[in-house]
């Protein structure tokens, strides 16, 4: 039995080590390759770069237009996130803490949205956007990101509001606070940690989206990172398949990587709580 235990211990460690290697190595390889100079691509792909050829990043940023795509992604992501959080928190607050008849019905309406595949809204929205001038308009993207971000956000916020004691709200009412003060000054500060983890989950959803960005934006000046990247490796990448392509892929993952390095605990908590409860 002791031998068996030692064996499963060693086997387990080897297994985890291999998994770790498989997970981390491709990213390390990507970033190393992004620093290779053009002549080095005649060496085998697993060879290490001889130096730091930063020009790849400059090329990707300027000639490859990654700079513009970055800007567009930022213009879309932050307003979307802000409004998803505000609208989501307000709705969840009204559903969970205020007293009215239809609260559970409204909650169910939103929760149904979790199962709806994005594909089903594309054609009608394309028609609506075409008629209202929201095609090739970043505002159109913001609207659809808010709409699809809300169900999970409301679901998670109602969960957090459940843990908030009603006595706190009652005490505030006794002290003469109105409902808006209770929402902004009492409920939000008390669940501010959940704001951060929900914001992170929604950040990855909006920042990583491809399907809406490729459907509603065709103007190359308005492309976001994901649509730009597909295009980058498509057109420009045909000529510059070496370093600049690796640099542009690295540029697309670096923001998410940095965010994860700093806030990994909250990211893991936020993303898994969406799955367990959903």
């Amino acid at each position: 039995m002791f031998a068996q235990k030692v064996f499963s211990n060693i086997f387990g460690k080897i297994f985890i080590f291999i998994m770790l290697l498989i997970t981390v190595y491709p990213i390390v390889w990507l970033i190393l390759s992004s620093f290779k100079n053009p002549s080095e691509f005649s060496n085998p792909m697993y060879a290490l770069p001889s130096g730091v050829h930063f020009q790849n990043y400059i090329d990707a940023w300027t000639i490859g237009n990654m700079g513009t795509y970055f800007q567009n992604s930022i213009f879309v992501t932050f307003p979307s996130l802000f409004l998803i959080l505000m609208f989501g928190a307000a709705t969840a607050f009204a559903i969970e803490k205020m007293k009215w008849k239809l609260n559970n019905t409204i909650l169910l309406v939103f929760l149904g949205g979790i199962m709806i595949p994005m594909q089903i809204v594309l054609l009608p929205l394309f028609t609506i956007y075409h008629q209202t001038g929201l095609l090739n308009n970043l505002l159109g993207l913001i609207i659809v990101y808010i709409a699809f971000g809300l169900p999970l956000t409301i679901f998670l916020f109602t969960g957090y509001y459940k843990t908030l004691p009603n006595e706190l709200i009652e005490a505030a009412i006794m002290d003469g606070a109105n409902i808006y003060q209770i929402f902004f000054k009492i409920s939000i500060p008390l669940i501010i940690n959940s704001f951060v983890s929900i914001a992170l989950v929604q950040f990855f959803f909006v920042w990583n989206d491809l399907i809406f960005a490729m459907t509603f934006i065709s103007d190359s000046e308005l492309r976001t990172i994901q649509t730009g990247l597909i295009n980058f490796t498509g057109e420009y990448g045909q000529r510059e398949w070496g370093g600049p392509t690796f640099a542009s892929i690295s540029l697309a993952i670096i923001p998410t990587l940095i965010l994860y390095l700093i806030l990994n605990k909250l990211v893991m908590k936020g993303m898994t709580s969406g799955a367990v409860k959903g």
Binding site: P44, K99, P117, N208, F246
Partner: protein, 294 residues
């Protein structure tokens, strides 16, 4: 005091923005799309009402049937891979690494946060053959396994497996953390007691650990199926359904019939099928899990 919490105007102000956006960009378009599925045509050509014709035709459409089958196969394989590898990892986190697993958990988790498009571009570099042998091919070549050097993405079968491997790679660490959270809730003395009774490794997992985390295992499977049936970005970015239509899943088929061929009615019919599929999977597994828990 209750009047503050019953303030109708405040309730309206709190829920209306969310409700209006959700109705106009999710619910109404969904109903509208179901409506489209009874028509033939596009906004440019105009629409003709054809009743259930799209739904009849779809079953004799070979491209639809093969996309449908491909989506099912993909969802089955990726869900099995993600949840199974996630479970093994989670069990080893608990049994082998014990309290020191934080860094490893964090590292294996991270690919899930990367954009699917960037991951797909990375994998297309890994499995590249021209203009330069990619990582896999150059490793094979240096190990003198040149007969295995091939255009991985140029053949429908291997391209399909590259997509499967890529999506398992992306999310096994996520499922490991999800299941780990369930595992650490198992009281330590239960595992100790089973160990004293002689259960070890496989037996311990099979008879103690898995039954105890069944609810969380089932929600992981539902979550994974729900995500994998809707796979879109990984496939678009890696193969765009190619070569030919060999890796075209239901979502890609919908997209192409709607936007490349401008068949709004038919594209919507495919989308409705996707919706039904997602609802069915969720309800089916939900019911099954209920029966077993009761």
């Amino acid at each position: 005091m209750q009047s503050v919490l019953r303030d109708k105007k405040a309730i309206m102000i709190f829920i209306l923005p969310a409700l209006l956006i959700f109705l106009s960009a999710v619910l109404i378009p969904t109903v509208w799309s179901i409506g489209y599925s009874f028509f033939e045509g596009s906004p440019i050509r105009g629409f003709t009402f054809i009743g259930f014709e799209n739904y009849v035709n779809i079953f004799s459409d070979r491209q639809f049937l093969s996309s449908f089958w491909l989506s099912i196969k993909y969802a089955g394989l990726v869900t099995t891979g993600q949840v199974f590898l996630g479970l093994i990892l989670a069990i080893f986190y608990v049994l082998v690494l014990k309290r020191f697993s934080v860094i490893i958990r964090t590292l294996i988790f991270f690919p899930i946060v990367l954009p699917a498009v960037a991951v797909a571009q990375l994998f297309s570099k890994i499995f590249e053959i021209t203009p330069q042998l990619g990582l896999v091919n150059s490793l094979l070549s240096s190990l003198n396994l040149d007969m295995w050097v091939q255009a991985w993405l140029g053949n429908g079968d291997t391209a399909f497996w590259v997509i499967v491997v890529m999506d398992i790679w992306r999310s096994m660490g996520f499922y490991a953390v999800l299941l780990y959270a369930g595992l650490i809730d198992i009281p330590e003395d239960v595992i100790e007691a089973a160990r004293i009774d002689g259960a070890n490794g496989l037996k311990l997992s099979r008879f103690v650990i898995i039954p105890m985390i069944k609810p969380i295992l089932i929600s992981a499977i539902i979550f994974s199926l729900n995500g994998t049936l809707k796979v879109f970005e990984s496939v678009v970015a890696l193969t765009n359904g190619g070569p030919g239509t060999s890796t075209s899943t239901l979502t890609l088929y919908m997209y192409h019939s709607a936007f490349a061929y401008n068949e709004y009615g038919y594209g919507s019919t495919v989308a409705v099928f996707l919706l039904i599929l997602c609802l069915m999977v969720t309800l089916l597994i939900y019911r099954y899990s209920r029966q077993n828990i009761d």
